[in-house]
Amino acid sequence: MVTVFIILFVLTLLYAGMADRMPTLVNLLGVQGLLLFGTAFFELRDVDMMNFSFIIVETIVVKGILIPAMLWRTIKKNKITRETDPTVTRFQSLLAVTVIIFLSFILSNSIHQEHLKVGYFTASISAVFVGLFIVMTRVKIVTHMIGYLILENGVFLLSLAVGNEMPLAVNVAILLDLLTSVLLLAFLVDKVGERFQAVDVSQLNDLND
């Protein structure tokens, strides 16, 4: 069952590479949150109840519902419907994402560690680099946020892949930080929209040497 979730997660990365409509990208983030919930639910049954409940809340409430809802509000408020003039075409983007996933798969299979879960590791490394790729190739700052959140989802999956156990207090702090940073970024998107009358990265050039 977990393998199905992982495969679906990788498919959302491919779709994110092609998509240029904002609502699609935001929905994909929500779907990723639900897939992470499913993965954590089936994978982490042997951890203590407190940590298990926390991870469930983190995936389904924060990643699956709250963050996409905030992004929906932001794109509606700023009337952002689609990514315009990305630096690469949809085909090139899809090709690049495919190459990233393929290379991640090769890398994961070349690691011979007993406790490393190869499927998770492939998906997580792919998500980290696909997130970075989206940040580098898109021009809307909301899309940059989405790229960052895909990267964050990859890091979450990586923590499942390697089985690190952080103290609960640290996990809570990490989740609060993530939630606050998304809130702050959404607030700043609004302010950039108000002050620059645009939400393109190319407009942010007041500060230079």
């Binding site: 406790h115 970075l132 700052i141 960052y148 103290p167 640290v170 990490i174």
Partner: protein
Amino acid sequence: MEYLTMHPYTFFAVAAVIAGLLYTVKSAKAQFALLASYVALLGGFTWHEFLASRVIETPYMYADELSVVLMAALTVLGAASALQGYFYSRNGGDTPKRIARHNAALVAFLTVLVGIFISQHLGLIWAFLEASTLLAAILIYHNRTRSSTEATWKYVFICSIGIAIAFAGILFLGIAYDHHDLSLATLHDHAHVLNSSWVKMSILFQLVGASVKMGVVPLFSADIDAKDAAPSHISALLSGAMMCAGFTAIFRVYSVYANTELRPWLNGLFLLTGALSILIAAIYILKVRNFKRLLAYSCCEHAGIVLVAIGCGAWYAAVLHLLLHAFAKTALYFQYNHYFRIFKTKDIHAGGRYMSIHPAGSGVLILGMLALCGLPPMGTFITELITIRTLLATPWWGWAIPVLFLFVVIIWALTSHINGVLFSTDNGEEKYQKHVPRTMALETLPQYALLGIVIWLGFFAPQSIVAYIQRASVIYPLH
């Protein structure tokens, strides 16, 4: 000594109450009293941790000598910045609501930095680093202009990306060894049996993540923009206190692995990152016209010097240089505020005759320039000398040649810029002289005090303080 007991959790709880009160109680007197009480709390906690150094008060948060040294510096820098913030708000005509928000964020920011200094768990250091980004964002955004909006967005976004990469790096340690505990003590105990390839990858990712906090390559650019757009006392904190936080994150990891077979690789990595940062700084210092960006690029240079010092094994010089730079740069950012009030521009070439317009401020600029250039009588002369001498005695002695060449370039560029401000007769017309209120000379007193510390710590510090800083810079002797 029971009366001195102050648990870290108590400190965080009291600091949270003070921050809450600062946000809600908006009268000027109450704000001043609350800020003063926070500085007293910070000083008291530092003193407590000095007495209780290496006593394990909580599982993952307890101070060692490095924490105490950095907290002592933070107390001085925090007090100076709070005072400068008071002048800034008074001259800038901020509303009480905005001042309250700023002061509450300032207290929370300083408290989070303390958290970084005393954390002994990689996950906890990471969480505090991310929190420091969010609180710094509130402070950078203070003026709510186009440039502060742009700088805040870039800072939060690039820091978040960097810190997410750093977290991935921390998780790589889970692949490198079988234990799941990422506390520094456990990592240190298992440092020799780790899978070195994954540890290298982990350190590389963590260095990239912390680079934005320390202001070195590769992610230094967001830091430069933030220092440019923030109020000058916040730029000072980002240059001094935040650099200390980035240093802590990097040095903690370095000290875990410096006694393993990874040491040559680690030293090479730090030397390369440090030298590249100095190179980037030199290029920009040559061409930049914006006073604040000039100071920001100078931070990049000094952070690079600190990394070079770590890389060549001059750890005492690294820690001392970090402290001296923090004090000197804070004084210079405060003085920049005077420059802006007189000339109404950030353009360093638009100023002139500063020596006759504002003699007290000119003294600060001269001493500050000497500190940034690493020239006597400033303590940075000693730390740079130790760094270069240590570097020359290592197998990497060849690195000293480009580093020294870049020092010369930076000294030439900095002295040209500052001499222009002080003595150029092309600008700085007589009209400016009338715009310098007498209180400005009084406002330079804290700046001279900070520069006095730079001289004193470098040349006249008592043996006990030197020995304490040496203990603070010893790599990972936790047990």
